[in-house]
């Protein structure tokens, strides 16, 4: 691992990696706990109410209180649950989320494992989690969980494809599949300017991969009352919640690095690790704020609408983006042309995606049938 620490410390590489991974796990655990605090406060402000205020100043100790409560809760298991699937489901979701941090470069020097294909690694690891959903859904011996599990698996697999295609577009432009190199590529312009269509597709697909509203059908509270994890309680449920937020962090970081320029843009590499970390955190927070904003504003999509959106809308547009990238590379056009063409593609996506809601003839508005007063008023208006 490339450690920034004082060069006098001489430790073998594997020890440094383990220390780094443990540090990241601890920091991330606290980080996602406070992501829940952040979410509750922000969404509450959007809903005309205060968030947690009682536990600690501004409710800052609320995540700790929640964690303590969940840890001491009774761990209920259904008697007829499948032993292997039920026990291991949470781990199957929990572990890949944390392993993904191995390839995430927080600053230009902080990286546990420099991989030449780190983007491929990240996408592959984040795609492993659907097995855990299936295991939880089947192993719980509960119809709601089964429905949730099936829906989750379908959704996760479907949205992998536009996500990967959007990333392929990025790889084409930057000629590298290493997140570190992609960040270095963006020293003058962030990739969002060159690939707006890819950015939109990534944004949508990442919300679906993390299973946040409006794509939270597997855990839809109002229909399947908790969905996949309806039979899990206490620590297991908290592990699932934690994983959901860690996934959100991973995708927010990925988006910040790949599209917004990470710690490289706009100030370059020489500003020191403090400012680089600050830039990373700020850009990641923008993404997370956007996820929260969308959560508070949109209803949930129905599962068939969700699937048709992925297959019939996102994938063709992702292929369009790849096609445009190909043209740009082959004909060696200036970046502006690519940016303009991609922006046009993004506008077309926005238009068509929502045009498809109104199929056929435009909807007739309500008829208003007037009622006229026939009796005499008690007192006429002055």
């Amino acid at each position: 691992m490339m450690l920034l620490a004082a060069p006098s410390i001489d430790m073998p590489g594997w020890l440094a990696s383990i220390i780094g991974l443990v540090a990241i796990t601890l920091v991330m655990t606290v980080g996602v706990a406070y992501a829940t605090w952040y979410e509750r406060k922000i969404i509450a402000r959007m809903q005309l109410r205060l968030g947690p205020t009682r536990v600690g100043p501004f409710g800052l100790l609320q995540p700790i209180a929640d964690m303590v409560k969940l840890l001491v809760k009774e761990d209920l298991r259904p008697a007829t649950a499948d032993p292997v699937a039920f026990e291991l489901a949470v781990f199957a979701i929990f572990i890949p989320a944390f392993i993904a941090f191995v390839a995430v470069p927080f600053t230009s020097d902080w990286l546990i494992s420099p991989l030449p294909l780190s983007l491929v690694y990240l996408l592959a690891i984040s795609g492993l989690s659907f097995i855990g959903f299936l295991m939880a859904g089947w192993g719980s011996d509960n119809k709601y969980a089964l429905l949730g599990g099936m829906r989750a698996a379908a959704q996760l697999i479907s949205y992998e494809i536009p996500l990967i295609l959007a990333m392929i577009g990025v790889v084409m432009v930057t000629a590298s599949a290493d997140v570190y190199q992609i960040i270095l590529f963006q020293d003058r312009i962030p990739l969002i300017a060159l690939q707006p269509l890819g950015f939109l597709i990534f944004l949508t697909a990442s919300i679906a991969e993390v299973e946040r509203p409006p794509f939270d059908i597997p855990t839809g509270e109002s229909e399947v009352a908790g969905g996949v994890f309806i039979e899990f309680s206490g620590i297991r449920w908290s592990m699932f919640q934690l994983t959901s937020y860690v996934n959100m962090y991973v995708f927010a970081l990925l988006g910040a690095f790949v599209f917004l320029g990470g710690w490289e843009w706009p100030f370059g590499r020489d500003i020191g690790w403090g400012y680089q970390l600050l830039l990373t955190v700020v850009k990641m927070s923008l993404f997370i704020f956007f996820y929260l904003w969308i959560r508070a504003s949109f209803p949930r999509m129905r599962v068939d609408q969700l699937m048709s959106y992925a297959w019939k809308v996102l994938i063709p547009f992702a292929l369009l983006q790849i096609f445009l990238n190909g043209l740009f590379i082959v004909y060696d056009a200036p970046g502006v042309v690519l940016a303009a063409a991609s922006a046009a593609g993004a506008a077309a996506l926005a238009y068509l995606a929502f045009r498809s809601v109104r199929r056929g003839e435009p909807r007739k508005p309500l008829r208003m049938v007037p009622v006229r007063a026939t009796g005499a008023p008690a007192r006429s208006a002055t």
Binding site: R45, M46, Q47, L48, T53, S297, F354
Partner: protein, 155 residues
């Protein structure tokens, strides 16, 4: 596309420009109006130093849920000439667990002896056991004797 942007605009506008509507109970209590009907209490006659209530059973008969029990007695202070009331209330129980706060007892009372508590003390009556919600005469008179209540709606 515009529809979802409008939704996001509303939530952003609310977040940035509106104050939350939360009232931090129990540190802050909302103002309750004069006519609030919390639970019935008996009124104490300051001048004559006895309850207004004479135990005439009018409210007990009128109550839709039969939550009151009334016992009257001869007023010992009538014989001595201190009071004009021949009969006076002896025992009075209201089961607050049954009361539906409909105000009918207040309307039918001939002596304006019962009223609805319109303070927060009338609302904050949680008990651990339902039997503790049956209030007897002293408890019913306590708020008015202490001068804390001026009921709003009188018959």
């Amino acid at each position: 596309m515009l529809g979802i942007l409008r939704s996001m605009g509303v939530t952003a506008k609310v977040m940035l420009t509106r104050k939350p509507v939360t009232i931090q109970y129990p540190e802050v209590h909302r103002e309750i109006p004069n006519r609030d009907r919390a639970f019935p209490i008996l009124i104490w006659d300051e001048e004559k130093d006895e309850p207004f209530c004479t135990g005439c059973h009018a409210c007990e008969r009128a109550c839709p849920v039969e939550c009151m029990t009334v016992v009257m007695k001869d007023n010992p202070r009538h014989a001595t000439g201190e009071s004009k009331r021949r009969k006076i209330i002896d025992e009075f129980w209201i089961d607050y667990g049954r009361c539906m706060r409909c105000n009918i007892c207040v309307e039918v009372c001939n002596f304006e002896a019962i009223g609805m508590n319109n303070t927060w003390a009338g609302h904050e009556l949680s008990r651990y056991d339902r039997s503790q919600l049956v209030f007897d005469l002293d408890q019913l008179l306590s708020q008015s004797k202490a001068g804390k209540v001026e009921p709003g709606l009188r018959a």
